[in-house]
């Protein structure tokens, strides 16, 4: 650090100063992911008290796999929610895409990669179609996506035929949700995550130093990495415990799969979340997405092509949703007409629980993913407790309402500008 700047940049001071300013921001109502983290911890504590199965390695790994679909769908939705738009059809879009995929596999199973690609092209096209109606014609996204939400189950029924259900016969795709990686691969993944986090932080730091800007003390980076390392190590270790011991599946079960090691889906989720976060935080597109979500008129006057940003967001949403579809079909093993109908509202709920504002411009992808994990934990725990499905829905709804209320109250305390 050379000369002293006339204004603060938020990077000044010792580790202690930085922590103090973090806590004062918390007090002022800028809570970030804390409500979602709190909910996750609380729910996990509660379920482990109420059910002696919840904390077993097999259930926790299962929870990880279960949550993958919702995490992907929520991440997809974040792109449009940040614009204060909504895509109610994201679920049935992936349902229809997967119906196309399994149907094409029937006649030409050997070209499954191409068939899968076509499903993604379909997702892309749906996003383009929706974006066109929203950005160019001015149809509210709620309406156009509701139209697709109503139409696509019909399309699925036509594709899938009388039975309304087709099974997935591609072992490679089945492996995503059901296969596991060797034990060392889990640790390697963790090491790569840590390396990537450290590299990005140090890169930013180097750029700040080069620009003569103050930098945060290194111990803070150490704390961040330490946190990631501890949480990551716990997850890897749980996945690496032999789930046969005291597990629910017996080795003679025909559905028996490897029972040790990190599920294959985890690196997929990690990489996609990483790429999307990078896009939102570090590219011009991401900055413009937040700008359009916060104040479209200001964005337009600043020369941002608002319609193009809107189109792109819808295309990303539908295409990413297709990945959620792949996870879904991989887990369930078949596609039914109506696939994806109910999960989309859980995705919206997850984003809100993760602090993403439906008014646009506010919220972070990683926190929304955490929100998805919270909703999945509720599903998983209540399932273990044998709670009737009706009650399950009521509780999920209540959690959404509580999360949105906490968020609204916190914002009100932070200055209330959002509520005006």
């Amino acid at each position: 650090m050379s000369e002293k700047l006339a204004l603060n940049t938020g990077h000044e001071g010792t580790t202690r100063d930085q922590l103090a300013s973090y806590f004062s921001r918390l007090k002022a109502g800028d809570m970030g992911p804390l409500p979602a983290v709190g909910a996750a911890v609380l729910l996990m504590a509660l379920f482990s008290l109420l059910s002696n199965v919840f904390l077993t390695p097999i259930n926790l790994t299962n929870l990880l796999v279960q949550s993958a679909t919702l995490i992907m769908l929520t991440s997809a939705l974040v792109f449009v929610i940040l614009l204060a738009e909504i895509d109610l059809s994201a679920g049935v879009t992936f349902g229809t895409g997967m119906a196309i995929f399994v149907k094409l596999n029937q006649s030409s199973p050997n070209t499954w990669i191409l068939n899968l690609l076509l499903a993604f092209v379909f997702g892309f096209a749906v996003g383009w179609f929706m974006g066109f109606f929203v950005a160019k014609i001015g149809v509210p996204s709620f309406v156009i996506s509701l139209a697709l939400y109503l139409a696509f189950p019909g399309v699925m029924l036509i594709i899938l035929g009388e039975g309304g259900i087709l099974t997935l016969q591609v072992p490679e795709v089945m492996a995503i949700m059901n296969g596991t990686m060797p034990l060392w691969a889990g640790w390697l993944l963790l090491a790569l995550c840590l390396a990537a986090t450290a590299a990005m932080s140090l890169w930013d730091r180097a750029r700040r130093l080069k620009a003569n800007l103050p930098v945060r003390p290194l111990p803070l980076l150490g704390m961040k990495l330490g946190g990631v390392a501890v949480i990551g190590a716990v997850i890897v270790q749980i996945c690496n415990i032999d789930r046969r011991q005291g597990g629910l599946l017996s080795a003679t079960d025909p559905n028996y799969h490897p029972i040790q090691g990190m599920p294959i889906v985890v690196p997929f989720v990690v990489v996609i979340l990483f790429i999307c976060t990078f896009m939102l935080d570090r590219t011009r597109f991401g900055r413009h997405l937040y700008a359009v979500g916060g104040n479209p008129e200001a964005a337009r006057r600043a020369g941002i092509k608002v319609a193009k940003i809107r189109m792109t967001a819808f295309i990303i949403c539908s295409t990413l949703a297709m990945i959620a579809g792949v996870f879904n079909v991989s887990r369930i093993g078949n596609v039914e007409s109506g696939a994806g109908k109910s999960i989309v509202l859980e995705g919206v709920a997850a984003a809100v629980v993760g602090g993403v504002s439906l008014f646009g411009g506010r919220g972070r992808l990683a926190y929304a993913a955490l929100g998805a994990f919270v909703i999945s934990t509720i599903d998983n725990g209540l399932g273990l407790l044998g709670v009737p499905a009706g009650l399950n829905f009521i509780i999920t709804g209540s959690v959404l309402l509580i999360a949105a209320t906490i968020d609204a109250l916190a914002r009100k305390r932070a200055g209330g500008t959002l509520l005006r």
Partner: protein
């Protein structure tokens, strides 16, 4: 004295049968604050929109640094160095000060946002205007006061290397202390050699900050006066039409 940066001659603009600007002349000098005053409906906003390229004039010549230009798009005006700070400021409350100052003109390095260089440039721009009241340049705009927001919007024009900055009623929504701050800022902007055009209804403010006062009355430029050579009553006379047309210079 240096040459005018903008010279308008015989500018007209009609909306259908309504003649809103009826042959307006205006001279704007670098390093000077020119106040544009006039009653509601006199045509101030229409005159400004033409300069901003938002709503092209019908007739008349626009000389920019002595050369004739035709302003037909905002991009064109902005490329010449004409920046407008609208009354509603056009800031994104969900973004921080640096992000707002570079909105739409983000700098990149290695294909990613060059946050550090943008942050440094933003600090320097605010520093050059002696802005000291913001806590951190990474504060979200939603947490700023009205005066601070106005400051950010004005400082943004400095970053864009504006030669002409047009301010539409910059103090209309502000309290006494904040108005004072913004007027000081306007003065410093001019002291940097920028030509400032300020629309205001508050003659006290106008007399505090302006070097020249241009008065529009029903689409005619009835007077362009030196602040030092006139007084409140004169200006009010021109605004209300009690005094007749007297184009100085």
């Amino acid at each position: 004295m240096s040459a005018p940066v903008i010279q308008l001659t015989g500018i007209t603009k009609s909306f259908g049968p309504v003649d809103v600007l009826k042959g307006v002349n205006l001279v704007v000098n670098p390093g000077k604050v020119t106040a544009l005053v006039g009653d509601n409906g006199a045509g101030k906003s229409t005159l400004i929109k033409g300069l901003a390229g938002v709503q092209p004039y019908d007739q008349g010549t626009v000389l920019f640094e002595g050369k004739e230009v035709h302003l037909t798009t905002p991009r064109q005006a902005s490329a010449l160095g004409i920046e407008v700070v609208y009354q509603d400021l056009a800031l994104c409350e969900n973004l921080d000060i640096v992000q707002n100052m570079f909105l739409g003109r983000e700098e990149l390095s290695q294909l990613t946002l060059d946050e550090s260089n943008m942050e440094f440039a933003a600090v320097k721009a605010l520093e050059s205007l002696s802005v000291k009241t913001v806590k951190s340049v990474r504060q979200k705009v939603s947490s700023l006061s009205g005066g601070q927001r106005q400051t950010v919007a004005i400082a943004r024009t400095v970053l864009r290397d504006a030669k002409v900055v047009i301010l539409d009623e910059p103090t209309a929504a502000l309290g006494v202390a904040q108005t004072e701050q913004v007027l000081n800022l306007v003065r410093r902007l001019a002291d940097k050699g920028i030509a400032v055009i300020i629309i205001s209804h508050n003659l006290i403010d106008v007399f505090k900050v302006a070097d020249d006062i241009a008065v529009l009355y029903l689409g005619n430029m009835v007077a362009q006066l030196k602040t030092s050579e006139t007084n409140h009553n004169d200006v009010i006379g021109y605004i209300t039409g009690i005094k007749g047309s007297k184009e100085t210079k």
